[in-house]
């Protein structure tokens, strides 16, 4: 399936009569990528589904303000990432539980989930990822699974490329240590 160019989507969206059609093109192009990005952060499918819908509603409401000085997909990633971080912070505050327990809860939902199809090694990798700080987990996921460039991640997270490289380096080292210890 070929996807429309971002410029074409934006051009159509600028025309009030074409707005809904433009948004449908945008959804077809980005919904799967954004879903997996969100899903890897919150683990549970239902939470991911809610957050993806909220993120795209925000995209719809704010797309008329979008300026072409950044790429459309990094802008959408940024909105989805903020939704994830807000959700995870709320989860910590509402339950008033320490970070370790949030990690434990996410890890349990990982093993209980009927929507996890990985082998033992992949499960262990996901458990190792849950031990990382959220920022490092985000950087690792976007680099390792989505294969984004540091410059793109920099636009999404608003962090310098150098800082992102350091984050990824620390994440990889911790994961390797975890895998070695739990071999």
């Amino acid at each position: 399936m070929t996807h429309s160019e971002d410029s074409e989507i934006l051009e159509k969206f600028a025309d009030p009569t074409m707005r809904e059609q433009a948004f449908e093109l945008l959804l077809n192009k980005y919904k799967v990528k954004i879903y997996w990005h969100v899903r890897r952060m919150v683990i549970d499918h239902d939470d991911a589904d809610d957050l993806v819908q909220d993120a795209f509603v925000k995209v719809w409401k704010n797309l008329h303000n979008f300026r072409s000085d950044s790429k459309l997909y990094t802008w959408i990633y940024r909105i989805a990432t903020n939704e994830c971080l807000t959700f995870l912070n709320k989860k910590k505050q509402q339950n008033n539980i320490p970070l370790d327990e949030v990690v434990h809860e996410l890890s349990e939902s990982l093993t209980d989930s009927s929507y996890f199809n990985g082998n033992q090694a992949q499960l262990k990798l996901q458990q190792a990822l849950l031990t990382l700080p959220e920022k490092q987990r985000l950087v690792f996921n976007m680099k390792y699974f989505d294969d984004l460039k540091y410059e793109e991640i920099s636009q999404i997270l608003g962090t310098s490329v150098g800082s992102l490289k350091a984050s990824f380096h620390h994440a990889v080292k911790k994961i390797e240590s975890y895998l070695t210890a739990n071999d």
Binding site: E20, F23, E24, L27, N28, K31, V32, Y35, W36, R39, R40, H45, D49, V52, Q53, F56, V57, W60, K61, Y115, F116, N117, G118, N119, A121, Q122, L123, K124, L125, Q126, K143, Y144, F145, D147, K165, A166, F168, H169, V172, K173, I175, E176, L179, T180, D183
Partner: protein, 195 residues
Amino acid sequence: MDLHNSNSEWQQETPNLNAIKRENPFIAPEGYFDHLSSALAGMIKISKYTSSHREDDGFDVPPAYFDSLSDRIKTSVYADCLLSEHRSAGLSVPDSYFQSLTGAILAKTQHKPGLLKRLKQNMPAWVSYAAAASISIIVATGLIVNTHNHSLDSKLEQIPDEEIINYLKVYSDADDVPVILEGMSDEAELKDIYL
């Protein structure tokens, strides 16, 4: 590990991570992505009606309304404070004074017998006795004077003796003599009438 080199650099130093198949281990429910677009279209339709955006909710405000709103609120609050200070003029009343004031006024206006009773209670006992005695003396004197003024004797006393004597000389006869004798104690008076 050189962070500034290619992505594959780190893989050589992480054999455990490198051994893991690099693919997405999660799955989504069957047909999820087919339904996601229609679900989102529904959400967006709803958001059009629930949005607080000015263009969507149909409400509007005068031009530059929000520019001056802060100043107008501040002015209004200041004016209210100033008015409150002016009204009290630095004086204060006991707590809850105005709450009880209405009740106190109504109680005073609706229980007039209480006022009379209190005056009576405050008056010394001798005053009421003295008043009663004065009234009795006045009434008695009036009765005496009135009775005295209207009796036969008092009227006769007002008539000069010479006229009475002249009247008896002209109009009395032999039958009146015993009555005249009873009323006359003085012999001289009798002589004046008949001699």
